[in-house]
Amino acid sequence: MHVVRLLAPNDFAEWRGKARQLLAAGLSPGQVEWRMLGDAGGLLDDVDAMALPQADRPIGSVPRQFLDLAQQAICHADPARFAVLYDLLWALQSNNRLLEDAILSANSLLTKWASAVRRDSHKMKAFVRFKAIGDDSGLERYAAWFEPEHYTLEMTAPFFARRFDGMVWAIVTPYRSVYWDGDSLAFGPGGQRADVPQDDAVEDDWKTYFSSIFNPARLKVSMMKSEMPMKYWRNLPEAELIAPLIRGARQMADDMIERAASQPPSRHLRQQAREPETQDSLGDIATLADARAAIQGCQRCPLYEQATQAVFGEGPEQAAVMFVGEQPGDQEDLKGKPFVGPAGQVFDAAVAKVGIDRSSVYVTNAVKHFKFVPRGKRRIHQRPDGGEVQACKFWLNLEIGLVRPRIIVALGATAAQSLLGKAIKISALRGAPVSMADGTILFVTNHPSYLLRIPDAEGRARESAKFEADLMLVRQALDALSMRG
């Protein structure tokens, strides 16, 4: 049996040096006993006297995962940690994929220890409470007493250095202490609670916060205790409030429930008198601006409830031509403007190509709210149904009535259905104008988003050409109108 003595309870580098020597000497876990300096069962002066057999058998590499696991597990307080780590290191020499096997007992033990250590370190980050120690030199100085369950001060101290760079502070634990001077970390011996101040001027504010943020109607004590175990309470200034808060909770909650509404304060009444009653009346819409404001309150169909906002048409009030699409898409819904998404860009390009001035036309949609189904982080467009198209016809009629376009272009079947009052096939109507009862000329073509959905470049080019040809007819009709004046 070879006894290996370690100086530090949690120094991975030290353990690793010894373990490498043992491996090189070919010593199996059964031949080694790990002890801490000062442990019973041996003489103190045999620390380095234990000459390990000199040999240099090759040492296999271990997966990165082992190093991560071991650096954490070695901080655990269980005296068996050094031996279990060596067991696993030994086993990894013959099969270095062992760590993938969650059922291997050394694995699950080390994993459990590592996670207890991480938790302990996390709780230190959470539950250290600094107390101010005056600031004679102009620098603010703070100290904290903390009792970790494992040997976690060294691994946690850099966190405090990153967080409290501009302060001078110390954390004292029973086994070691650490001091930050604003520049570097220095470790020293452990200490006692009395080594740091007991009080802090801000503590009463903190207690005020703690008791005021608590909602007595929602008492969940077991939840609190599982996240803030009672072993930490003795060093948390707010913990002394917990018992009285719990005792008084039922009474406080009942009081809240029983305190019925009282007379509103006079401030409220004055305020109410100032606020004019706003009325969204649809009766007196005289301009596009009126309509644009009124449509935000539209509840003519259920689509308003999932969409962000109603997307009203846009363009000059006296535009000669009005383009009507289907409904706003994702981008239009977010920005509140029609034809700004991918299909809108296709539309803009095509219009420019045939020589129609984009800024001179009015663009809108048959349905003003975006219809979609949520799928994870995306919204999948849904075609509006007949009822929704019918309900929204009110707004489209209003736009047509106010803009009075000479030419209307229906982009896609939904728009055509809305304008003609019946379902139609695009292919049957495209290529020739339809004269409407009120004298406007109606053109029907595809919706630009149709072009985006064609997978092959050749098909897309063919359909784009047809779309542009349709727009060219619109342009010619426009030219003819302007010639006539």
């Binding site: 967080r163 760079d165 801000v202 909602n215 609190m224 719990i246 509103p264 308003y304």
Partner: protein, 411 residues
């Protein structure tokens, strides 16, 4: 009027803020004060520095700048017609409190909200001033969460996102009808437009395929929202549909569900009883299933009755009990998606099962060791040495899995 002490203001303005459910300080960029001489850091995941006896964590200093408010939302303790004590912090007072608490390691940062006073722009500008002062004058690198006041000017939103880690706009109610009934001055489309604007700024600041010059940062921890559960008649289906719509539309990191809790001086139009905490808990579980387990809303709702989730058992178990034809699942062969649907198996357990089975087939004991529990899992899986036989379809299965009734706590 007598001036209030700072501590009295603190008590009032913390009390006014305690009904807001969100407190998280996670998901932001990594930052530290190292080498700056300032204080503060963020490391991706937040830290809960304390817990109140209501079981909720205390991570941020959660306060209102003021609880004066021009709105009269029925569910809100700060509504203008309420007779609660009122107070207002100065910008400097909030900054000092934040720094004092932070330096003692009580908190991760600040969550600042406010009643709306004068105008949305004025109120938002005050919130932004606090954040700007912390960052610019005090080199504060801790977490900041600011509440967005709907209808505030776009420039203020941009500046808020520059200083804050997270922005949130509360949707308040699961349905527009509910909001109109209880918060007559708030407009649902204005709230959603505010969220859409935040999303737009997040998109602009986000990684771009075409690498350009460094873009100004905007709310690296994204945006969140909250809705109140149990103050109106909306069922769980409506609530989860709303949440799914918000997640997909505005890139929200979190939707918080806040069980409506009785408030002092409450309006007679509200249900005055203990908050439906179990319902809130089930909604969080359901939300989790939507975001991490590939469930959709109709599936989850189908686990309960009449649009309400089962309060006795968790939503995944409720769904499994009603979808027994899809079980048992063979833990040695099933794909990840199906393993994730086994009651009692979480994402980590599933990953470990998949890694381990590359080495050897799993027995029931192995699954128990990985998952840490087996009772709930057993009827729904097959392993090398285990098949549930008739157990999966047993009519009494639900009764067996229902947790035993608990003694009510006495206090």
């Amino acid at each position: 009027m007598a001036t209030l002490t700072l501590r009295r203001k603190l008590a009032i303005l913390v009390d006014a803020a305690k009904y807001d459910a969100s407190c998280a300080s996670s998901g932001t960029e990594k930052r530290s004060s190292a080498g700056t001489g300032g204080i503060g850091s963020t490391e991706g995941s937040g830290i809960c520095h304390s817990y109140a006896p209501d079981g909720r964590c205390i991570s941020l200093l959660k306060i209102l700048l003021t609880n004066f408010c021009v709105y009269d939302c029925v569910y809100c303790v700060n509504r203008s017609s309420s007779n609660v004590a009122r107070a207002r912090f100065s910008v400097e007072e909030v900054v000092k409190l934040t720094l004092d608490f932070y330096k003692r390691n009580y908190i991760e940062g600040l969550f600042l909200s406010s009643g709306v006073i004068r105008s949305p722009d004025y109120t938002m500008e005050e919130l932004v001033r606090v954040a700007r002062s912390l960052r610019e004058e005090h080199q504060f690198a801790g977490y900041i969460h600011l509440k967005v006041i709907p209808n505030a000017a776009p420039e203020l939103l941009v500046e808020a996102g520059r200083w804050a880690d997270r922005l949130s706009t509360n949707i308040e109610m699961p349905t527009d009808i509910g909001l109109e009934a209880l918060a007559p001055e708030k407009k649902p489309s204005e709230i959603r437009t505010a969220m859409a604007n935040v999303r737009g700024k997040l998109d602009e600041a986000g990684p771009d395929k075409k690498a350009r010059a460094k873009k100004p940062k905007f709310a690296p921890a994204g945006q969140s929202t909250q809705m109140i559960v149990g103050a109106d008649a909306a069922d769980d289906g409506a609530i989860l549909n709303r949440a799914a719509g918000l997640y997909s539309g505005y890139k929200l990191r979190r939707v918080y569900y806040s069980a409506f809790s009785p408030i002092p001086d409450a309006s007679a139009r509200l249900p005055l009883k203990a908050p439906p905490l179990m319902r809130e808990h089930r909604l969080y579980q359901a939300d989790w299933l939507i975001r991490f387990y590939g469930f959709d809303v109709p599936e989850i709702v189908s686990g309960g009755e009449d649009g309400l989730l089962d309060l006795v058992i968790d939503p995944k178990l409720a769904w499994a009990l009603k979808s027994r034809a899809r079980f048992p699942v063979n833990v040695n062969r099933a794909d990840r998606e199906m393993l994730l649907r086994v009651p009692g198996l979480g994402t980590r357990s599933v990953e470990r099962i998949i890694a381990t089975r590359r080495h050897h087939s799993l027995r029931l004991d192995d699954v128990a060791r990985i998952a840490g529990t087996i009772d709930k899992i057993r009827p729904f899986i097959e392993a090398v040495d285990w098949t549930p036989g008739g157990l999966t379809d047993d009519a009494r299965l639900r009764a067996r899995l229902v947790p035993p009734p608990e003694q009510l706590s006495l206090f």
